[in-house]
């Protein structure tokens, strides 16, 4: 590769990084602006301040933000765990066993994935109110499965197909019991796929907004995106911009950590699931 070409690719690469990071940098910058700086028309704050963070973490807005953060973590983790468990059995069967209906299961997962969330929310809103699931954790965990389960089944069965299953029998021939062979050979091979699927499913649940605003009414179950969307300032006379920016940064931190640590696996999971299935 010539020097000129090399320079070109480096410039293009920097372009991509700027494209991806610019809006994130802007919301971070905004979160450090003081009330007087919010309307300064500049990208950067003139004075660096933590006041927005103290507003949402210890101040007036913490009653709105902290329970929502707890709800988001709890609901998303439980929904992820449940869908991974269900998808793990299903993907094992799809990758390993021969039974009629495999195609139906994969097509159903695809159909559920393209389902408009708002079409599910309308009847659930009514039903949840009648049976007492409205504004509760299970009331969100159940519909979240419609987001997390399809992609979990697709990505996990893609991963499971690549496991050399004969190794388990080889171990048995060498004298291991069925359970030992499964635990010592298959589990370590399957674990990365399960883990990657869990991260992708968690992203999807963490991103939800429609269920969050429609199926909750108080801080009992309202997740962060919904709380942010309905946040109108600690008092009627206050502009919530700085507080929203700080809250946005806080909910983005877990995502950034996951992406930085597991980017290679996440890319493999996303593209395997969608392109290879």
């Amino acid at each position: 590769m010539s020097t000129r070409e090399r320079t070109w690719w480096i410039v293009a690469g920097i372009g991509i990084i700027l494209y991806a990071l610019f809006p994130i940098a802007w919301i971070v910058s905004l979160s450090f602006k003081s009330a007087s700086d919010i309307s300064n028309g500049q990208f950067l704050p003139t004075v660096f301040t933590w006041e927005n963070y103290s507003l949402i973490l210890t101040g007036d807005a913490s009653e709105l933000f902290l329970p929502a953060l707890l709800n988001s973590f709890g609901i998303c983790l439980i929904a992820t765990a449940l869908s991974c468990l269900l998808a793990m059995f299903a993907a094992y069967a799809i990758a390993r066993l021969d039974f009629p209906g495999k195609k139906i299961i994969l097509s159903t997962a695809l159909a559920v994935a393209i389902f408009p969330v708002i079409s599910i929310v309308t009847p659930l809103f009514n039903l949840w109110r009648q049976i007492g699931l409205y504004d509760t954790w299970p009331g969100l965990i159940i519909p979240y499965l419609s987001l997390t389960l399809p992609i979990s089944i697709w990505t996990m069965s893609a991963f499971f197909r690549e496991i050399p299953w004969e190794m388990e029998q080889a171990a048995q021939v060498d004298g291991a019991t069925t359970w030992q062979a499964f635990r010592k050979v298959i589990v370590p091979l399957a674990a990365p796929g399960v883990f990657t699927t869990a991260i992708i499913a968690f992203f999807l649940a963490w991103n939800d907004f429609v269920y969050g605003i429609s199926l909750t009414s108080t801080s009992a179950a309202r997740p962060v995106p919904a709380a942010l969307g309905l946040f109108s300032g600690a008092s009627q006379f206050e502009d919530p911009t700085g507080g929203i920016a700080a809250a946005a940064v806080v909910v983005t931190i877990p995502v950034i950590i996951l992406v930085l640590f597991f980017q290679r696996r996440i890319v493999a999971g996303l593209t395997n699931g969608a392109v290879k299935g």
């Binding site: 494209y19 066993l97 299961i105 408009p116 708002i118 969307g229 980017q263 392109v275």
Partner: protein
Amino acid sequence: MTTTAPPSTGSATAAPAPARHTSDRVRAERRLGWMLAGPAFAVMLLVTAYPIFQAIYDSLFSYRLTDPGNRSFVGLGNYWVVLTDALWWQSFGVTAFITVVTVAVELVLGFALALVMLKALKGLRPILRAAILLPYAIITVVSAFAWQFAFDLTSGFVNSWFAWLPGISAETDWFGQTGTSLLVICLAEIWKTTPFISLLLLAGLAQVPDVLQEAAQVDGATWWQRMRKVTIPNMKAAIMVALLFRTLDAFRVFDSVFIMTAGANGTETVSFLAYRQTIARLEIGLGSAVSVLLFLSVVLIAFGFIKGFKVDLAQARGEK
């Protein structure tokens, strides 16, 4: 050590089994298959099929949650009300506009990003991959806020940065009219979801055989010719899958609209209309009709893609 026995659970019987025994085993395998996959299948049906049937049923009634006593059967009346209302057609138009614009731009931009990532220096690649994953993983609400605050009259920097452009001044109110509001909504959507298309296309690019590329190069084909005659035809399946997923996703656009304009200035999308009827106005009957129509639109788009563009999902998944 190798074994030729077909993969199965339980004991490893290597010897060819008698016919009766095999059919027993086949049956046991089928049963185990459904026992393992059944629960996931049942949950998927429960969380989607059940609500959509309930929505179809509810859409046949005149039903307000604030006035449940007066629930009455009106047949297809709600659909008539919705389909003869200009509001439905306007929100349908807005949704179609956002879908077409964002998907078209994302396809071109995503392809460019994928090409750069493919050719980028080895050392740069992990950094690019991490960077491009961030917009995908950022929650849509946060992305919508970032773009809204950037263009906002009081908190934004866009007006002061781009004041040199004709038509932009310190007083330009981007969210004051339909066109500019939709522009910012589209920008936010494009930023957020281009990475997804880009990653799918990158996977598609990686599947194009190098041999073909080299052969074309030896024959003296230019970069553009190789792109048109070798690269794009070979990754047609990946392009179609990316297009299908993104189109269906774009048609359901809701979060950005809710955050940025709350449907003001004629920016209401179909999803937002359904939300407003049901959750805000408690018109369960009418809202359900809108939900069902949205569902039908999505099904029609998917069907149109699979039939019209001959998207073969099996082929896209690498099964020839």
